[in-house]
Symmetry: C2
Subunit: 294 residues, 2 copies
């Protein structure tokens, strides 16, 4: 059996092309979608993430800007900055790069972004619309990106059993809801498993579609996988690596070398879910701009 | 094996007593929780539901009022009515009895209720907080009532496998999220199954806790149940009954006579989930009033 590699970079490029052409169409109506990043402090990983997203944004024709604020900013100052962006009709999307300093009440900050500009999909109103099945909200980018991998990869989903391992608020829980939706590209029976699930392999081996989103390096191995299953690796874990100048390397939740021989299809990592997250961020931003004229 | 009957009336009485004593405590601070029902039109079932809830509200010491509006009310008039209640500091909870006339945009009406007075837990912000795990929201009453049945019935949940049959927005989907939460009285592995699930018995027979919430009369039978499982019946279905003056009778999703001999514990229906829904509505209203002084 040969295993299909679900190439996230290629799928992301498809989405970027679609986004770019709709940006051109919208520009003819006098609107250029604008995405503003807020980064607090100088965490090197955050700098790199924002910089990568900005580069992609420019490639698809969005305008963007990064507002860098000092680690010492007060809550009132940060909220005032968000309010100003909420009120600015030239700004369509606002992304507050996590992590925020722990001294700030993170939930309150994220919830301050207008739901109509919350292109990250993290506002309670957008989470609520996801759970309610209301399509007017913005979906969180990583779960939405995984649904796009399945759609563009032509992985059958209707009536299939999807097992999501990990119940985090950013991926596992919302993804479980999306996979179960009554929709052509969803309609799965969904099991949400996690750190308290006993005998995990007996659950995961039922999966036609297995999602690793628990944040444990290389945790899912061949014993967890039904032969022929589609395996999606969401994990981004640091493990020590003295041979790297950074002192660590990034690995997923899926032990690719172990799983690949039995999987029917599998995402590489990196190059799987990560690029899709950015693609969905930019298409959300485009839609936020389109919504202002429709 | 003797089957435990999970007596929803008895559990609801426990919650009502707790609510009543906290209402007394709050009254000493000069606040009497007030719940306002809005009923549009004269649907007999709606009249009966609202009347039953009002009776219970008075029993626990809440004040309540039902505003009856004509079927022909315009959207603008209805929204103005809701806005007035949102602005009234003497009103702590607002419940819009469904169904609303189909001519009205139902989602828009429900979303007009202030999230802080949405004691039904149907506002997108409260659904979002549920999915995010933010405890400041109001939980929808039926799923929250089911969690209370499990807690008060001392049904072990941690590490157990719960199977929810039915993915409706009011019960199935939010309940699946609640059952999976990392919490002493949850922490289940959760499977959400539905009308597109093939070979349903092979899924439901894995359940330590099986929830029928699909809206099909007497659908779940002995073949769906693992011996010893806890079975919760959420269904309220009308089936024709010429011997009844109404011409129908109400039955659940669970065929009690078939399932009871194998179940370890089971809710009766009526007298299981229904009373708990009202109990949670009233405790939500109490909390809405408490929140105004804390």
């Amino acid at each position: 059996m040969s295993t299909r590699i679900l190439d996230g970079e290629a799928f992301a490029s498809q989405i970027h092309r679609e986004t770019a052409s709709r940006v051109v169409a919208l520009s003819k109506r006098g609107i250029t979608p604008r995405l503003v990043f807020i980064r607090v402090g100088e965490d090197p990983a955050s700098r790199a993430y924002v910089s990568r997203k900005e580069t992609r944004a420019k490639e698809v024709g969005l305008t963007s800007e990064t507002i860098v604020l000092p680690e010492t900013i007060t809550l009132a100052q940060l909220l005032a900055q968000i309010d100003a962006l909420n009120a600015d009709p030239k700004v369509h999307g606002i992304l507050i790069q996590s992590p925020l300093p722990s001294a700030l009440p993170n939930e309150q900050v994220y919830a301050r972004v207008s739901p109509a500009k919350d292109v990250d999909g993290f506002h309670p109103v957008n989470f609520g619309k996801l759970l309610l099945g209301d399509p007017t909200g913005f979906l969180p980018c990583t779960p939405a990106g995984i649904m796009e991998i399945l759609r563009l990869g032509k992985i059958p989903t209707r009536g299939k059993h999807a097992v999501v391992v990990g119940r985090g608020q950013i991926v596992g829980r919302p993804l479980a809801v999306l996979l179960a939706r009554k929709s052509t590209h969803a309609d799965c029976t969904v099991t949400l498993a996690h750190s308290s699930t006993p005998n995990l392999p007996s659950i995961t081996r039922q999966a036609d579609i297995l999602i690793g989103a628990l944040g444990r390096p290389l945790f899912l191995t061949q014993e967890h996988v039904q032969p022929g299953a589609t395996v999606i690796d969401v994990g981004v874990n640091r493990i020590p690596d003295t041979s790297s100048p950074r002192g660590y390397r990034l690995v997923g939740d899926v032990d690719f070398a172990s799983v690949q021989p039995v999987a029917g299809a599998i995402t590489p990592n990196p190059g799987g879910v990560g690029p899709m997250t950015i693609a969905l961020l930019l298409s959300n931003t485009l839609r936020a701009a389109e919504d202002t004229v429709s």
